[in-house]
Symmetry: C2
Subunit: 331 residues, 2 copies
Amino acid sequence: MRRLINDGYDAVEEMLEGYTKAHPEYVHLDPNDGRVIVSNMLSEEPRVRIILGGGTGHEPLFLGYVGKDFGDAAVAGNVNTSPSPEPCYNAVKAVDSGKGCLYLYGNYAGDVMNFDMGAEMAAEDGIRVETVTVKDDIYSSKNFEDRRGVAGDIIVFKVAAAAAAKGLDLDAVKEAAEKANRNTYSMGVALSSATLPVTGTEIFHMEEGEMEIGMGIHGEPGIERTKLKPADEVVDELLGHILDEAQFEEGAEVQILVNGLGGLPLMDQYICYRRVDEVLNEKGLKIHRSMVGNYATSMDMIGMSVTVVKLDDELKELLDAPCDTPYWKIK
Amino acid sequence: MRRLINDGYDAVEEMLEGYTKAHPEYVHLDPNDGRVIVSNMLSEEPRVRIILGGGTGHEPLFLGYVGKDFGDAAVAGNVNTSPSPEPCYNAVKAVDSGKGCLYLYGNYAGDVMNFDMGAEMAAEDGIRVETVTVKDDIYSSKNFEDRRGVAGDIIVFKVAAAAAAKGLDLDAVKEAAEKANRNTYSMGVALSSATLPVTGTEIFHMEEGEMEIGMGIHGEPGIERTKLKPADEVVDELLGHILDEAQFEEGAEVQILVNGLGGLPLMDQYICYRRVDEVLNEKGLKIHRSMVGNYATSMDMIGMSVTVVKLDDELKELLDAPCDTPYWKIK
């Protein structure tokens, strides 16, 4: 194991303690539930509240996007494991201001089950909670509804949060998030597994010099395991799938996220971005904004994903709207 | 090799191209010198200009801190290699506004030689260039003057840039940077080597389950190579050395940086931060601001460093001053 942790069973609690102590201006732990991270910058006026969440091990996802005009709370499960229903419910109790809440998380069965139970518990208190599950990983299924959520999570979260910050009602905030969801296309490549803190071992094993395109962030199978190819070929393959799926029109405006999965140097991520920019320009697309870095990781997994978001005026306005969190700030 | 690059000889140029394309609002490449990254947000009024630099492979150092009220330019060498004198000089030509420039970089012999030659070339044009080399790695030498610069680089850079943004003259900006330098203490631990892009091989080899406290970011030797210890023990050892060296008075105010070296998950960095916070509070220090993340890396090296900065009112004001760059934003 090449991890700097204490007892693996304490890793999540210790991380949450460290996170909230490091960023006291942004967040605190809910005194009633140590798995709920609550914003210190909740709007004074009542608003639809944005609740993010899922398993841990994907930092800065989800807690890193709690702050001002973005996530109002995040719910943290164990590593690669859905949070249980109680913290999902407790997050609602901690932040609801009478306008209802929107749960936003990647589309994984365990998360769906437990967040749905949290929503039912809230309904018993008369609080309306709606849900949008992010489904941006185009390789995970041919059917949109069955797709998993990966780095595109943060695009959908940002759009929803900006819609809530505008004062839109729950139906309208949900609609904006769903629109972002339908227009967000991601695909990734892995060169290694992450290391699980409790066991100190890999989830799966890849030899040095191998890669797997289409692999999920928990090691879900991709297309095939091949010899590591040059960055430009990998990007071309990822973009090929995304462009086939998305069928952008020439002149379309897009936002790009080249997302590191944890162990890939920024140098490599910018080398990959260079090729993304080149190819999309050749295709006649107009890049409105680009993001490069470790926005949604799988701990120490070496790999990256490319996300392309098709924009219209509404999505552009919401993605460009000001926000302030430790891991995404727009003035 | 577990890197996503093309030809290793092209890695630096391709990264710089990707970086400037991804962040066109912040920077551009100097049309006269492809190794000089220039801010698009230079102040309109003449000011002392801040020029950062050094070898590449430490991203987001140095180029990631070029923007508004921070670095005005960065000079990029090859991986782990000083830039040559010409780009050091060309950076001055690109940004000088008549008030002189300050070179800021980590204290390495090659950088000192080449930046000094750049300053001499600028002097021939009548432009005054002064230098502060950062020396925060307390284990690298008993003598302050011989110490290397590691993650504390960014603290000294920030202080100098904020002093320049206040309109101070070159002597005063240099003095502020030197004060930050004397009050910045870092020490790190490595669990693996970085991978060099040109050879595709490690710089040195560490077995899984080993660690080396005090190791430099290019693999400079540390105290001894031992079995990997729990995070809290590693932090205690790093802080022990820092506290011995710094001799902070009880009640002193400090700023903390827990810096990931590239391959260490954020989860682990926050677990380490938790212990830093705990120990410093026990010692009666007051933590003014904390930063956690990959601020100065060694590509894919697994490891981290702890930096403690002793503050006074002046340093606090300069470190808190607004700035806007891709990798450090303060409102």
